[in-house]
Amino acid sequence: MSAPRLKPARMWPADVIRVGGYGLRSRPLRGILSALGIAIGIAAMVGVVGISASSAHEIERRLSAFGTNLLTVSPGQSFGDEPVHLPDTAIGMITAIPGVESVSAVGRTEARIYRNDHIPERQTGGIIVYAARTDLPSVIRSRTAVGAWLTEATGRYPTVVLGSAAASSLAVIETGPDSLVWLGGRWFTVVGILAPNDLISDFDYGAFVGWPEARAQLAFDGHPTTIYTRAAESAVTTVQPLLGATANPEDPGEVDVSRPSDALAAKQETEKTLRALLLGLGGVALLVGGVGVANTMVISVLERRSEIGLRRSLGATRGQIRTQFLAEALLLSLLGGLGGVVLGIGITAIFATAQSWSTVVPAWAMAGGILATLFIGGLAGFYPAVRAARMPPTEALANP
């Protein structure tokens, strides 16, 4: 035969996108609604990842602020009834362990603290009064929000430093000679208020009195109830097992040694588990969104039979019809995916701001969200696109 071989022309990529967007332009509301399903799924997933990343970022920040090298030593439980004490020598012994950088201690007293002398005795507000050494803030990395910590001088007088929660429950907002609280049956002057301490949150409900003053006025026996130890970062694991025997060589089993940062680290682990669960739920939402897109596409193919027939009569190949509907499904999903990522970032930003965290949305979550929608869109569009392509042109053009 003399005629040249027939070869269908390739469509320009811009035309593929334009034709793929045709269904969206002619029925925008339907497109937006089915994209919304995808958007909700992606927003849920990005939001979950974003919120947990922001939370992890916050925990990291606290861990690095307070350090992971703080170890605490406290008396454990004895088998008998008599209370267990740490020996008075414990502080000195621990200081001598190689790798220990600094040591401080508090001693719990039985004294009670009230706003004034008219408050009934039972209304203690859960505030615990500690005898504290002057070097405590440097070891636990606490700082005062108002006023100053106890010094060698103020520690010998009826002065007190309050934890942040204790200060608000006693309605103390400033320090100075006029700021008095009723402590152990006499007036104490508030000289400082601590900023919240995330690592040792018990101290937020604490009131701190100088060691000598506590012994003199509050019937404090002078035994430390908790010893705080900063070890060199590299020595934490070697110091920790030595602490029990060093603090109480006669009875090492009656000493509790712990590492407060473990609690924060454990919290981070818990959140990871929760995140996996929530991500799964977001995935289900995304899948439902994908089914919505598939549904829209199936209906669209049935409704647009005459359009398919016309395009075939204009010279579209089966492949070009398939590409058109696949592109439409991908475009719908991509629209939903982009909307979902923006929505997810918004949710994270609102939540993180409300918690006064910094907003962190990992790039992999955004990229993963978009990739997931493209995958879902391809899956949802595949069957309808194949159906559209298989439709014989005469049937598509037949009168409805």
């Binding site: 027939l6 070869k7 320009w12 334009r18 332009r25 002619s26 359009e307 016309l310 010279g315």
Partner: protein, 224 residues
């Protein structure tokens, strides 16, 4: 290229046990203007689908523009339609919400030409059918006759040698119908082979050639 544009030899089309077209022989030379007439159910639409390569015959041989259709794949048939055959349908088939210019430009969408070229050609085609003032109008803003002229402009974009018109005036009043017929005659004057499928004997009787179908068979032919 020389030789007939359409050549059917003993072409039959069966749908199951029903015979829609029974061993039809038809030769259409380049530049002809002819009508295929017959009552509904006579096989007109089947003949249109077969000549338009939208359906394949179950028996017989068919050559379009020198190509043996039986030997072509679906992809090759699509390419043949894209460059050789233009279609005009009774229901216009204009995309709602798309301006006339873009509707017409889509006539070359599958021809591998760039969008700018297609739109320039579309504008030329719309002027040719007398709709140069309606380029940006949407289908619902046009009268039925204007809509069919848009469809004709789309069909002749890229100058296909063969134009198949299926009841082109079926949905139009007599004045608009006459205008569309004039347009088709004008295209024929420009060298295009025009095949008009109709049940309207008045339209058929004024054309140079008339092929009459009855019960799936070519009953008679009239040349004037």
């Amino acid at each position: 290229m020389s030789g007939p544009i359409v050549h059917l030899a003993g072409v039959s089309k069966r749908y199951g046990s029903i015979s829609a077209l029974d061993s039809a022989d038809l030769l259409i030379e380049r530049g002809e203007l002819l009508a295929v007439v017959g009552p509904s159910g006579s096989g007109k639409s089947t003949l249109l689908n077969i000549i338009g390569t939208l359906a394949r015959p179950t028996a017989g041989s068919l050559e379009i523009d020198g190509y043996d259709v039986a030997g072509l794949s679906d992809r090759e048939l699509s390419a043949l339609r894209a460059r050789t055959i233009g279609f005009v349908f009774q229901q216009f088939h204009l995309a709602p919400g798309v301006p006339a210019l873009d509707i017409v430009a889509d006539g070359l969408l599958y021809g591998g030409k760039q969008r700018g070229y297609r739109r320039r050609e579309a504008e030329r085609a719309l002027r040719r059918v007398g709709l140069g003032h309606r380029l940006q109008h949407l289908p619902h803003q046009l009268s039925g006759g204007e809509q069919q002229r848009v469809a004709v402009a789309r069909a002749v974009l890229g100058d296909p040698p063969l134009l198949m018109a299926d009841e082109p005036t079926g949905n139009l009043d007599s004045v608009s119908g006459a205008a569309v017929m004039d347009l088709l005659r004008e295209l024929h004057g420009g060298g295009t082979t025009v095949v008009i499928i109709t049940h309207d004997r008045d339209i058929a009787s004024v054309l140079p050639r008339e092929v009459r179908l009855k019960d799936g068979k070519i009953a008679e032919e009239v040349r004037r």
